[in-house]
Amino acid sequence: MQAHIIQSPDSLIENYAPAGENVLVVRNLVKIYKGASLPALSGLNFTVPAGEIFGLLGPNGAGKTTAISIMSTLLRPTGGSVNVCGIDVTQHPGRVKGLIGLVPQNIALYAGLTARENLRFFGKICGLRGKALDERVQACLELAGLENRADQRVTHYSGGMKRRANLAAGMIHQPRLLFLDEPTVGIDAQSRNMILEKLFLLKNTGTTLIYTTHYMDEAAQLCDRIAIMDEGHIVAEGSLQELLNRPPGYAGLGDLFLALTGKDLRD
C-alpha cells in the first residue's frame, strides 16, 4: 500500500516538504466568538516540522476544533497568525488549500455514493483527472483496505469502514499537512489499529499530521509530540517522555492530562 503513495504523480509529490522544515507555525492565535464571554483561543502557540505527527489533546471546549478550523482555513482568527509552509492562512487561504487536507470528526462523505465515487468526486474537486485520478483513487482505496468494497455505497458500510473511507478522502490529493479530528472515534479495535498503521505509513512518506483525540493511549502510541490544551491555550507540550518526566513525574499520559486539566466534567 505504501508503494502506491510513493508511485503518485510527480506534481503531487511536490507537496511533501523536506524533513525539518516547519510546515505549520501557529503564533499567538486568538479567537473570540461573537457574544461569548470567554475566548475560545487565547494565545495559542506551536510549531510542527515536516513529517511529524503532532497530537492536540484537551477536554471538551479546550479549543481544539476551533484551532483546527482556523488552521484549515475554515474560520478567521480574531488575532495572531497561522503559517502553512510559509504561507499565511488568513492572507492566502486559496494557496493554503492546495497544501492541506482535513479528516473531520464526522463521516464527511456522501452516503448515497460508493467509496470510489466519493474519492473520484473529491479527486476531481482537487483538479485530478485521467490516469492520475484513477491511480490516486485506487491507492487511497487500498490504503483504507476498501478495494474489495469500493463499489458499495457508503451508507451500507460498517462504522470502521466509514472511518477508513473518511481518512482516504482526506488523502486523495496527497496534502502536505493533514488535520485529523478524532478519526478513530466509535470504531472497533481492528479498524482503529488499521487506521493508526496507515497514519504511520503516511508519516513515513513525509506527510505532516495534526491529530486530535480523546484516547490517551492512541496519542501516546502515534504522536511524535503532544500538546495538551485547556481554556484556549497550551498547558503542556513535548514528546511523550518529556511530558511524563514533568515533575513530579507521571505514570501515563492520562494521569498528566487529568493533573493539568482537572477532574471536573466539561460538558
Binding site: Y33, K34, A40, T66, S69, S72, T73, L74, L75, R76, G94, K97, G98, I100, G101, L102, P104, Q105, N106, I107, A108, L109, Y110, G112, L113, E117, F121, F122, K124, I125, C126, G127, R129, R153, A169, G170, H173, F179
Partner: protein
C-alpha cells in the same frame, strides 16, 4: 469548469439514488397536474367553461322544442342529449340523472306548449288591438318550461343558462305574436276605416292591405360584440389545462427547494461542506455546480409536466395544452422560475438549522406562496386584500407570466416584469444566503 462539472455529476448521481427525492420532484407534480386538471375540468363544466351536456325532454314535439334546441346548439359549447342508451328518458329518470351529476341540467318542455303558445299569442294580439270578445275568460296559459340544475352547478352559470333560455323563448313568443298580429291587422284596419269612412269605403281597399315581413322583429339594431383584450391574440378562453399545467409545474419546481435545502444542511452537518471548503475549489464553483444540477432536474420535471399536458391529459378528454406563440418567452419564464426556486432552496438550506426545520417550513412556505399565487384559486377570485398580497408571491409571477403567453397572447416583452421579479428573487435569495452563511461561518456555527 471541470470542478463545476464534477459537482453537477455528483449531485445528479445523488438525486438519481434518492427515491423519496425523486417522488417529490417528479411523481408528485405529475400526479398533481393530472388530478387537478381533471378535477378542474369537471369544475369548469359546472361553470359552463367547458362543453355542457343538457338532457332535453320534449313532450311537446312542436315548434317550440325544435326552436329552443336549435338556438341552444347555435350558442356553442352545448351537447343536447335526448335519449340514453337508445331510449327516451322519462322525467323521473331525468331528474335522477341530473342529481347524480351525469348532466349539468335538464330542460323539460310540457305537452301542448306550441299549441298553447300560438293560441295565447293570438289572444294577446287580439287583446292589444281590442278585438277580443271576452279576454279574461278565454285566456290560455301554456305550461312552464322547466329547467333542473345539478346542485353543484355554479350560480353564474345557472343565470347564464336561464338568461339564454329566456332570450330564446322571448324570440319564439315575439314570432308568434307578430304572426298573430299580421293576421289580425287587416281586420283591425278594416274596422277602423269602416268606422271612419262608413259606406264610402270600397271593398277593394282591404285587398290592397300590404303584407308584413314577420321576422323584422328579430333584426338586431344594437349588438354586443366580445373582443380580445390583447390585440395580438384571437379570442381564446383559458382551459383547465392551461391553468393547471404551468401552475402545478411551478409548484413542483419550487419543491426542488426541499431536497436542495436538505442536501445543503446534510453537507453542513456531516462536515462534507467543511471538507469541500478546505479543498482547492472555490465556494462559488461548488454552488454553481449545485445550481446547474438542480436546474437540469427542474428542466426534466417541467418537460415531463408539459408532455403530460400535451399528450397524456387529452387522452382523458381535456383540451391539448396550447403554449401560445412565443416559445422563447416560455423558455425564459421557465429558466427564471427555476432559478427563483433554486434560490429559495439555497436560502432555506442556509437559514434552517436542521433538515426537519427545512422540511416543515419549506413546504408550508411553498403552499402559502402557491395559494397566494393563483395556483389553486385564480387571483381574480380572491378578496382584495389577498390580491394585494399575491403580488409578492414568486409563484404568482411565474404563473402570471405563463398565462400571459399561453392565454393572453403575450410575448417576451409583456412578461419582462414577471421575469425580472423572478430573477431578482433569485439574486436576493443567493445574496441573503451568502451573508447568512458567512456570518455563521465567522461565528463557527
Amino acid at each position: 469548469m471541470y470542478k463545476i462539472a464534477a459537482t453537477v455529476s455528483k449531485e445528479l448521481l445523488l438525486l438519481s439514488r434518492d427515491r423519496t427525492g425523486l417522488l417529490v420532484l417528479f411523481v408528485m407534480p405529475a400526479l398533481l397536474v393530472f388530478v387537478m386538471t381533471l378535477v378542474q375540468e369537471n369544475v369548469l363544466k359546472t361553470m359552463g367553461e367547458s362543453t355542457t351536456r343538457i338532457l332535453f325532454i320534449d313532450h311537446d314535439q312542436g315548434e317550440v322544442g325544435q326552436t329552443i334546441e336549435k338556438k341552444l346548439l347555435e350558442s356553442g359549447g352545448i351537447e343536447i342529449i335526448k335519449q340514453i342508451d337508445g331510449r327516451e328518458v322519462d322525467e323521473k329518470e331525468a331528474l335522477n340523472r341530473v342529481l347524480n351529476g351525469d348532466f349539468q341540467l335538464c330542460v323539460i318542455i310540457p305537452e301542448g306548449t306550441t299549441a298553447a303558445l300560438k293560441t295565447r299569442a293570438r289572444q294577446a294580439a287580439a287583446e292589444s288591438l281590442d278585438l277580443a270578445e271576452r279576454p279574461a275568460e278565454n285566456a290560455v296559459r301554456p305550461g312552464d318550461i322547466s329547467v333542473y340544475f345539478d346542485p353543484t352547478v355554479f350560480g353564474g352559470f345557472r343565470s347564464a343558462v336561464l338568461g339564454s333560455l329566456e332570450m330564446v323563448i322571448v324570440g319564439i313568443e315575439l314570432d308568434e305574436k307578430m304572426n298573430a298580429l299580421s293576421h289580425l291587422l287587416p281586420r283591425y284596419i278594416d274596422r277602423v276605416l269602416r268606422k271612419s269612412l262608413g259606406p264610402m269605403l270600397p271593398d277593394a281597399v282591404l285587398n290592397d292591405t300590404p303584407g308584413m315581413r314577420l321576422d323584422f322583429g328579430r333584426d338586431r339594431l344594437l349588438k354586443v360584440a366580445e373582443r380580445p383584450a390583447s390585440p395580438e391574440n384571437a379570442l381564446q378562453k383559458p382551459t383547465s389545462v392551461q391553468q393547471n399545467v404551468p401552475a402545478w409545474a411551478l409548484f413542483g419546481i419550487f419543491f426542488i427547494a426541499i431536497p436542495m435545502a436538505g442536501a445543503l444542511i446534510k453537507e453542513r452537518h456531516d462536515e462534507t461542506l467543511a471538507r469541500l471548503l478546505t479543498l482547492p475549489v472555490s465556494f462559488l464553483s461548488v454552488m454553481m455546480g449545485k445550481i446547474i444540477a438542480y436546474v437540469l432536474v427542474c428542466l426534466g420535471q417541467f418537460g415531463l409536466i408539459l408532455l403530460i399536458g400535451k399528450y397524456v391529459l387529452p387522452l382523458w378528454g381535456t383540451p391539448k395544452l396550447d403554449m401560445g406563440s412565443d416559445p422563447a418567452a416560455v423558455v425564459v419564464i421557465m429558466f427564471s422560475a427555476i432559478l427563483a426556486a433554486t434560490g429559495f432552496g439555497i436560502l432555506l438550506g442556509t437559514t434552517a438549522r436542521t433538515y426537519e426545520q427545512a422540511s416543515m417550513v419549506g413546504p408550508i412556505a411553498i403552499v402559502i406562496a402557491a395559494a397566494l399565487g393563483g395556483i389553486m384559486v385564480p387571483v381574480y377570485a380572491m378578496p382584495a386584500i389577498m390580491r394585494n398580497i399575491s403580488i409578492y408571491s414568486p409563484l404568482e409571477w411565474g404563473h402570471d407570466a405563463f398565462l400571459d403567453v399561453f392565454v393572453r397572447g403575450g410575448n417576451i416583452r409583456t412578461v419582462s416584469g414577471d421575469v425580472i421579479a423572478l430573477l431578482s428573487f433569485f439574486v436576493a435569495a443567493v445574496l441573503i444566503s451568502g451573508m447568512v452563511f458567512f456570518v455563521k461561518r465567522r461565528n463557527g456555527i
